[in-house]
Amino acid sequence: MSEPSRTTPTTAAPPTPPTGADFILRAHEVHKTYRMGRVDVPVLKGASMDVRQGEWIAVLGASGCGKSTLLHLLGDLDQSDPGRGEIFFEGEPINRRTRSQRNRYRNRTVGFVFQFYHLLPELNVLENTFIPALVGLTRFSYHAKRPEIHRRAEALLQSFGLGDRLKHRPQELSGGERQRVAIARALMNQPRVLLADEPTGNLDENTGGEILDLLAEQHRAGLTIVMVTHDRSIAGRADRIVELSRGRVITID
C-alpha cells in the first residue's frame, strides 16, 4: 500500500489504447451523458484509467464528479455514450459482447459492493450471500450444486464473523454487518475484480475501518479492487489513487 500523496491540479494524460493484457481493466476516453428532463448533463467527459491485476485503486473525487458512474461502466452496469470511449477487460472491449456474456461478466468476473449495502430484504443472510451463485442454474443443477454453494456461502460468512447470523434478515443486522454480508455476496462467485462504491460511506469511523481491513485482507489474498470514495484518508488505504474532477481524471498517483 502506498501513502496518500498530494494531487497536482493538472489533467492527467490519457493512457494509451490497450495493447495487450497488461491491465486487467481499462477505461479509455469514456463519455457518459445523462438526460435530465430536456437537458443533457455530461457526467464523464473522456475519463481514462487502467487497473492492473491485483491492484487496489481508489477513485477519489467530490460528489457528482462521475466516480460512481465510472465504476458502473467498469462493472458493465451501465454503458458509455455510443462510440465515445470503451471499457476493456483483459484487452477485450466489454460493450461488444453479447447480452448473455455481459450478464455473465457481472455475475462471474466482477463483484459489486454499494454504499447502502443493497441486500434483498426478503432473503436471509445466507440466501443474500449465495444469490449470485444461483444465477444461471436450473432447478436440477441447483440441487446438484446446493451443498457446495451453501458451504462456500457459510465459509465466507464465518470468516467475516457472521457465522451466527445466517438465518437473520438484513433488517436485523447493524450497518457494518450488512456491509460484510454485501462483501460476502460480491465475493461469492470468486470474481476477478471487486468494485466498491463508497463502501464505508454509510458507516461510522470504527465500523468503516473494519470494512476497509476486510477489503485489505482480500486484496492481500490477490483480489483486484476498485473503490470509489470522496474521503482522501480512506483512499489512502489503496495502492493507487485516481482522482476525478468534472468528469475527467486529473491525477493518477
Binding site: L77, R108, F114, H118, L119, L120, L123, P132, L134, V135
Partner: protein, 544 residues
C-alpha cells in the same frame, strides 16, 4: 433458480400477494357460482323434459293416431326403446271445490289422458306423486303439520291407477299448484290452507273441454266429474300450475277420440265399418345407452313402414308420413326447445357478461403487480448487478402472477363449491328471521372493537384507531341489519320456473374458469414484468 427462491420469498413474506390471491379467488368464484346455477337450470329444464314426457314423442294433434296399440307394440319391440305410452291432451276448465257456496272457482288446465301403467314406465310419473305414506325415517323428520303422516298406502295406489278405490270411479291427479289452496311451506313441503280443509284428494272436481274431433255442426262441450286421487310435483312450476292427468279412455271419450262406428256419407244410417280409437301423442323411452336422437331416427323409419303397411291394407287409412306437416316425431329436447333455447341463451349471455370479471381480475393483478414492481425497483437493480438477465427478472414476476393465479383459482373453486352446494340452505337462512345469537354476537364484537378503539386512542396510534373504528361501525351495522332482518324470500317458486335453486357445481365450466383466472393473472403480470425487465439498473439502485 433464483426466480424460484425469490418468488417463494415474495409470496410468503408479504400481505400484498394474499390480497391478490383473494381478488382472483373472488372473481373466479363469482363466475363459477353464476354459471353453475345457470347450467343447473338448463339441466333441470332438460331433466324435467325427460321426466315429464320420455325421450321421443310422436304427435298428431287434431286427428289423432289410429291403431296406436299396434304401433306401440312395434315400437316396444325395437332394441332402441324401453317403453312407449299413448296419450291424449287438450285444454279445459277445471271447476274446483272451493270456495264454499255456489260460485265455485274454475282453473284453466292442460289435461293429459294417460294409461297410468305404461306412462309410469316411460316417465317419472310414480316419483312425482306427492301424497303418499311416509316411511319411518321420513315420519321422524317431517314437520308435525305434514298431512302425509296420516296417509295410508292406498292414496299412492289410487294415484298410480288413476282410480278412486272408495267409489270405484276414474280419478284425476292434479299438478300441485293447480289448486290455489296448496301452499309451499318454508320447510319444503306442501300444506293445504285452512287446516287441511281444502286437501284436494278429499274432493271431486269437474273437467270441461271442447272435443277436438267433430264433424260440422255445433260444438258441444264435454264434462266429467272426477274424484281427485292424488297431486303431483314435477318441480317445474309452469307444469305443476296447469297440468292434470286423467285416465286415457275418459280423455278419449271427452275429446271424441274413442272408437266409433263409421257410417256411409251418402246414407248416415248404414254402418260401413269402425273408426278406431286414437291418441294425440305416443311417448317413448329410450333403452339404456341409446341417445334420444338415435331412437327418434329409428322410430321415424318404423313409423313410415307402419304407415305404408296400413295404407295398403286399409283404403280408409289416412296418415301423413313422418316428415309431413301435422305429424311430428321429435326428441324431448326438440319439444322443449321453447324452454331450453332461452335458458341456454341466458346462460351464454351470463357467461359473456361475467367474462368481464376476468378482465377485472387481470386489471386487479396488473394494479397489484404494478405496485409490487414499483416497490421492488431497488431489488431489480441489485439482481441486475449480480448478473441476472432481463428475461430472468421478468420471469420472477410472471411466475409470481402464475402462482397467484393458480392459488386464487383453487381458493375460488373451493369457495364456489361450498356456496353452490349450500345455496338452498343459505337461501333458506336468508328467508328466516336472524337468530338471536347472530345479532348478539355482532353487537358483542362491536363492543370489543369499541374498547380496542379507545385503547388505541389512549396510545395515540392512528392506524389502529382507524381500523378498530371501522370494525366497530361494521359490526354495529351488521348487528342492526340482523336484528331488523325479517326474512326475505329471494327465490319465489311462483315466479321462477323451478322450486329450488340448482346446487351442483358445473365442473367443466369451473375448469375453464380456473384456466381463465390463471391466464388473466399471468396476463396481468405481463406488463409489470416487462416494466421490471426494462428498469435501468443504475436508476433502480438509486431508488429509495
Amino acid at each position: 433458480m433464483y426466480h424460484v427462491v425469490l418468488t417463494n420469498r415474495y409470496l410468503t413474506s408479504r400481505v400484498i400477494p394474499l390480497i391478490a390471491v383473494g381478488a382472483v379467488a373472488l372473481c373466479a368464484a363469482l363466475v363459477m357460482i353464476v354459471v353453475s346455477v345457470m347450467s343447473g337450470f338448463l339441466d333441470m329444464v332438460r331433466d324435467s323434459g325427460r321426466t315429464l314426457m320420455g325421450d321421443v314423442v310422436i304427435e298428431l294433434a287434431v286427428e289423432g293416431i289410429p291403431y296406436y296399440e299396434d304401433l306401440i307394440e312395434r315400437i316396444e319391440a325395437l332394441d332402441e326403446s324401453e317403453a312407449a305410452s299413448p296419450l291424449v291432451d287438450s285444454f279445459g276448465m277445471l271447476q274446483m271445490p272451493y270456495p264454499q257456496g255456489d260460485n265455485k272457482q274454475s282453473e284453466y288446465v292442460q289435461f293429459w289422458g294417460i294409461e297410468p301403467e305404461s306412462f309410469a314406465r316411460v316417465t317419472g310419473f310414480a316419483d312425482t306423486l306427492y301424497w303418499r305414506e311416509l316411511d319411518d325415517h321420513e315420519r321422524r323428520t317431517a314437520p308435525v303439520w305434514d298431512l302425509r303422516r296420516q296417509l295410508t298406502p292406498q292414496v299412492l295406489k289410487d294415484g298410480l291407477a288413476l282410480r278412486d278405490s272408495r267409489s270405484d270411479r276414474p280419478g284425476i291427479v292434479l299438478g300441485m299448484h293447480v289448486s290455489k289452496a296448496n301452499e309451499r311451506m318454508p320447510e319444503g313441503g306442501y300444506h293445504p290452507m285452512g287446516d287441511g280443509y281444502w286437501w284436494m284428494p278429499a274432493f271431486d272436481v269437474t273437467l270441461v273441454t271442447i272435443p277436438s274431433r267433430t264433424v260440422g255442426g255445433q260444438v258441444e262441450p264435454e264434462s266429467f266429474i272426477f274424484p281427485v286421487v292424488n297431486e303431483f310435483v314435477s318441480g317445474v312450476f309452469q307444469i305443476d300450475d296447469v297440468r292434470v292427468k286423467i285416465p286415457l279412455e275418459v280423455g278419449q271419450r271427452m275429446l271424441h277420440l274413442d272408437e266409433a262406428e263409421l257410417v256411409d256419407p251418402d246414407d248416415p244410417f248404414t254402418v260401413i265399418g269402425a273408426d278406431p280409437a286414437r291418441v294425440s301423442k305416443i311417448l317413448i323411452r329410450a333403452a339404456d345407452g341409446v341417445s334420444p336422437d338415435r331412437l327418434r331416427d329409428r322410430v321415424i323409419r318404423l313409423y313410415d313402414e307402419w304407415v305404408m303397411e296400413y295404407a295398403e291394407r286399409d283404403d280408409l287409412f289416412v296418415m301423413p308420413p313422418a316428415r309431413e306437416f301435422g305429424l311430428s316425431i321429435r326428441t324431448w329436447e326438440q319439444v322443449q326447445a321453447r324452454f331450453i333455447g332461452p335458458v341456454e341463451k341466458e346462460r351464454d349471455l351470463m357467461r359473456i357478461l361475467f367474462s368481464i370479471v376476468y378482465v377485472v381480475c387481470a386489471a386487479l393483478v396488473l394494479t397489484i403487480f404494478w405496485a409490487i414492481v414499483h416497490e421492488k425497483t431497488r431489488d431489480i437493480g441489485i439482481l441486475r448487478s449480480v448478473g441476472c438477465s432481463r428475461i430472468g427478472i421478468s420471469l420472477i414476476f410472471l411466475r409470481y402472477g402464475l402462482v397467484i393465479g393458480v392459488l386464487g383459482s383453487v381458493v375460488g373453486l373451493i369457495l364456489a363449491f361450498l356456496i353452490v352446494r349450500n345455496v338452498n340452505t343459505i337461501h333458506d337462512a336468508i328467508g328466516r328471521d336472524a337468530p338471536v345469537w347472530s345479532w348478539l354476537t355482532a353487537f358483542g364484537f362491536a363492543v370489543v372493537s369499541l374498547m380496542m378503539t379507545i385503547l388505541a386512542a389512549r396510545r395515540e396510534r392512528m392506524l389502529p384507531i382507524v381500523l378498530w373504528s371501522l370494525g366497530t361501525i361494521a359490526m354495529f351495522g351488521l348487528g342492526v341489519i340482523l336484528l331488523l332482518h325479517r326474512g326475505t324470500l329471494v327465490w319465489d317458486p311462483t315466479v321462477y320456473y323451478f322450486d329450488a335453486i340448482p346446487n351442483t357445481l358445473d365442473v367443466p365450466n369451473a375448469i375453464v374458469t380456473m384456466i381463465g383466472a390463471i391466464v388473466f393473472s399471468v396476463l396481468g403480470a405481463f406488463i409489470p414484468a416487462a416494466k421490471a425487465a426494462d428498469t435501468d439498473p443504475v436508476e433502480a439502485l438509486r431508488y429509495e
